[in-house]
Symmetry: C2
């Protein structure tokens, strides 16, 4: 991992479709070294994957929300069970076990409020071991980088 690799990563996370040729031109190299560096970065796991980033609203998810979840029981088995269950819900696009004022933070995508309510009432609430759920609805996405501030 040197400066060139970092530059490559920076370019790729901004535009996953940038060509080897264009990276090469920007970094004043030929395609071969760039090609091999990219492959190495993929092989060694610096690049986990490539994805198309979709427009959430356009594909039908009008509603985005976060839930702060507090559990009743915190023993390992209960934790494992909860984590396994929560992953199954397609509405849950992210889930983090956190240290702070609550136990889990989850990000939810839903078509509309009705679907969100359905998720809360019929899916999330049906899990045992949940003590408290606190919802926050996203009004504005002020910043959504989805790329790391590599320098």
């Amino acid at each position: 991992m040197d400066t060139i690799d970092r530059s490559i990563l920076l370019l790729l996370q901004k535009d996953g479709k940038i060509t080897i040729k264009e990276i090469a031109e920007r970094l004043n190299l030929t395609t071969t070294p760039i090609f091999e560096r990219v492959k190495k970065l993929e092989r060694e796991g610096y690049i986990k994957s490539y994805k198309a980033i979709l427009d959430r609203k356009k594909v039908g998810f009008q509603l985005m929300a976060f839930c702060n979840i507090t559990l009743n029981q915190h023993q390992k088995d209960f934790i494992k069970k909860f984590e396994k269950d929560i992953q199954r819900f397609p509405e849950v696009v992210e889930c983090y076990h956190v240290a702070g004022m609550f136990d889990y933070l989850i990000k939810i995508y839903a078509e509309d409020m009705e679907r969100y309510q359905d998720f809360l009432s019929n899916k999330l609430a049906s899990l045992e071991n949940i003590s408290k759920v606190q919802s926050s609805f996203v009004m504005t996405e002020v910043k959504d980088f989805s790329y790391l501030p590599i320098s």
Copy 2:
């Protein structure tokens, strides 16, 4: 937007590097219709961009945290000012204006705790208008899809 388009989006958000040819094979079509559908989905904004997804820890960000932020003043000008300021910090990779128990939820990437503290004390705290900040540190990333549950 028909079933074929949705299938294409599903494939592309799981693997942004999938070839037109392979999509075509999977959907029992030839490359031309797939090519044109993809271009249309890009043109019409269903696909916002393509990105390489990096391994956060491997590229040096050991620490991920969320902050719940409450403002003092909620008039439009204050809101705009805060949103403009918060976007400038490279540590802030996501920022949402939410309706709930607090005003903003931000996601932070930092090299380590020291850098995080530096962000909190010297950068975030220096903004006027902040009433309360509550940090949650991510211990485990239970789920991180970064793709939408298109059905």
